[in-house]
């Protein structure tokens, strides 16, 4: 499969979003804690020092100093992180066995400083303070130190905790995301199951809108309207196939039957001649139906009129009337042409459409009556309407008149040259030109026509 499922994709996106959110929060949290933790050792040192400061300042005798020593020792034992060093010229007034390293450090500037002692991974935060001489006591350097290792470790474990929490969070988000997406996509799954049931010949079903989330409304509506069109096309095709078989069946029956009858016994040459001629007539009928259907099929397949020339429609109508002249005289009908317009047309095709339209009108006009041809320029298109006085056509038939083999009177079997494709061919020719057909029946006149893009 070239594309991942929507659920998988969504869960991946959830994971990405979670990663981003966790990273932001974790980073902010870490910065905040880091800032707080960084200040903690100094605060601790300050607090310890402020407790001791006044006592150290006040006491100047060895007896008093012993008390301070005890206090410092107690404090150091109580909190292993704490260290005190007192450095002076007199060993009595010293504390914490300061070695050369400490002494050197103690000589440095006063204030808060970092001291790296060998054997310790992390530095000590040290407050170096100075006390002037008092009584017997020489001036002192007093070092209050706290080991920062625990603070650093806290910071480290916080980082680890944040990262692992984030990892768990991301996993959880993508897993839950997948689950949520599956639930969210359930209507789609149901929809596709429903759609799968809609196959020919069960095309009449439609997808239901009621239980669907509004996001799918549009999809279902357009899917359903596609189905409408497919169903129409399908049923047209079905009835077309039935009509075709019917139309081909009667000439074939004649052909087979009369040939068999002729062959059952010896016949005169004239009889065979007769049969062959009749066969030829039936065969011509078949050929004509097949040619018309091939023409319609090529129009169905989207064949377009290509050899377009700009032509006067009135002239085309005049040429058509010239062709139909004898027929009109026989039928004793007159034709009046009104208006003119120019349009790009494929003349042979348009001629065929006009012949069919006019012949159709002549057939349905009583002797002595007038057929009108109206050519109008409607701006973006031109229209040719052929109007003849005739019996009104019921509204139900109107939209179907341009369909293949459609006959208003279903029982009218027509064995002549007229095989019910004339108006269908008119429609096909209109489509090939990018145009449409129209039909109206009102006030005792019927109008069949064609609109062509100008």
């Amino acid at each position: 499969m070239s594309t991942n499922s929507i659920a998988l994709r969504l869960s991946g996106m959830f994971a990405l979003v979670a990663l981003l959110v966790f990273m932001l929060i974790g980073w902010a949290l870490y910065l905040q804690v880091d800032k707080g933790l960084g200040l903690l050792p100094e605060a601790e040192v300050d607090a310890r020092y402020s407790v001791l400061e006044s006592a150290v300042q006040r006491y100047g005798t060895p007896e008093h100093w012993a008390k301070i020593n005890t206090k410092l020792k107690l404090l150091s034992e109580e909190d292993k992180r704490l260290r005190f060093w007192v450095v002076s010229d007199n060993p009595t007034y010293e504390f914490g066995d300061p070695d050369a390293e400490i002494r050197a450090f103690a000589k440095g500037p006063l204030g808060m400083r970092d001291l790296n002692l060998s054997g310790h991974d992390y530095p000590f935060k040290v407050l170096v303070s100075q006390f002037p001489a008092k009584d017997q006591r020489p001036p002192l350097r007093f070092l209050t130190a706290v080991d920062t290792e625990t603070f650093w470790q806290t910071q480290h474990s916080l980082l680890v905790a944040l990262i692992s929490l984030a990892a768990v969070g991301i996993l959880l988000a993508s897993a839950l995301g997948y689950w949520v997406a599956r639930i969210g996509l359930k209507p789609l799954t149901e929809l596709s199951l429903e759609a799968r049931k809609l196959t020919p010949p069960r095309l009449s079903g439609r997808l239901k809108l009621s239980h669907l989330p509004p996001e799918l409304d549009q999809f279902v509506t357009s899917f359903n309207s596609t189905l409408d069109r497919v169903e129409q096309a399908y049923s047209r095709l079905e009835s077309f196939n039935a009509d075709v078989s019917h139309e081909l069946r009667s000439p074939l029956t004649n052909l087979i039957g009369q040939t068999q009858v002729a062959l059952t016994r010896g016949r005169s040459a004239e009889h065979y001649f007769e049969v062959l001629q009749s066969n030829l007539e039936e065969l011509e009928r078949l050929r004509s139906i097949i040619n018309d259907m091939l023409f319609l099929a090529s129009a169905d397949q989207g064949s377009k009129a290509t050899q377009l020339t700009q032509a006067s429609l009135a002239q085309e109508v005049a040429k058509t009337l010239d062709y139909l002249d004898f027929i009109m005289e026989d039928a004793q009908v007159q034709v009046e042409v009104r208006g003119d317009a120019n349009a790009p047309i494929e003349t042979a095709h348009l001629r065929r459409a006009l012949i069919n339209l006019l012949h159709n009108a002549v057939q349905h006009t009583s002797p002595g009556q007038l057929i009108q041809v109206d050519i109008r320029d409607e701006g973006d298109h031109v229209s040719i309407g052929v109007t003849n006085p005739g019996a009104p056509i019921a509204g139900e038939h109107l939209p179907k008149l341009f369909e293949r083999f459609y006959r208003v009177d279903a029982s009218r079997s027509n064995s002549g040259a007229n095989h019910g494709l004339g108006l269908a061919i008119v429609k096909a020719i209109a489509l090939m030109h990018g145009g449409t057909v129209f039909v109206r029946s009102e006030d005792g006149v019927n109008t069949f026509g064609i609109n062509l893009p100008s």
Binding site: L276, Q277, S278, N279, L280, E281, L283, E284, L286, R287, S288, I290, N291, D292, L294, S298, S303, K319, D322, Y323, L324, D325, F326, I327, D330, A348, R351, R352, I355, N356, H359, A417, N418, H419, G422
Partner: protein, 225 residues
């Protein structure tokens, strides 16, 4: 006149052979492409009738190989009537193109069009039995009496007279008289023939305009038995 038919469909090849022979052509038949191409290259033919769907080498292949060496006129036959095929056939050098189902009369007409000597002069006057036609002044007389014909009736008569003795289908008459080259539901030709016949043959003993049922019409003087 020699005609080569390259067609694998047996019935088609047989009736073409018989029909064209009866029309006065000398016909050879090839049942497949390579054999047909060989015959076309080895002998001289006036026209080649070439089917598109052939075993071995198809019609287009035959045509291409033939055109590399010879310009014998070719009429292509095909069951697939779509515009692309038509354009392809003509581009490859076919001189004419007929889609199946075609009528035999149509094929004969196309054959004659291809073999008719160019520059042949059209007659200006034609006579059939006691019928006399002047194509320039557009007059027709029969038995010394002027026939009162409309312009269309005269066109129809002259089309039939120019091809006297030749059966003309309704389609080719419609094409020659009205420039309508497709079947239509309207039986214009029948009506026109009926009118012409009334004026041409109505008052006379000897009939000149004959209907060949299912095929068309012919203008000729037949011996009265």
């Amino acid at each position: 006149m020699r005609v080569l038919i390259i067609e694998d469909e047996e019935k088609t090849a047989d009736y073409l052979h018989r029909g064209l022979t009866e029309q006065g052509y000398t016909t050879d038949v090839a049942r497949e492409g390579i054999e047909g191409l060989h015959m076309a290259l080895e002998s001289e033919y006036a026209v080649i009738i070439l089917d598109v769907m052939l075993p071995g080498l198809d019609g287009y292949g035959v045509l291409r190989a033939l055109r590399a060496r010879k310009q014998t006129p070719v009429i292509m036959l095909t069951a697939r009537e779509n515009v692309d095929d038509r354009i392809r056939g003509l581009r490859e050098g076919a001189d004419d193109y007929l889609g199946k189902p075609f009528s035999f009369l149509e094929l004969v007409a196309r054959l004659q069009a291809l073999t008719r000597r160019s520059g042949g002069h059209e007659p200006v006057q034609i006579s059939v039995a006691d019928l006399w036609i002047d194509l320039i002044s557009r007059k027709a007389m029969r038995g010394g009496v002027r026939l009162d014909l409309t312009a269309k009736e005269f066109s129809l008569l002259s089309v039939l007279a120019r091809r006297q003795g030749e059966i003309l289908s309704k389609t080719s008459i419609a094409e020659m008289v009205w420039d309508v080259n497709f079947d239509s539901d309207a039986n214009v030709v029948e009506v026109a023939i009926k009118r012409l016949r009334a004026k041409l043959d109505g008052p006379f003993e000897q009939k000149l305009l004959h209907t060949i049922r299912g095929m068309g019409y012919v203008l000729e003087s037949r011996r009265v038995d």
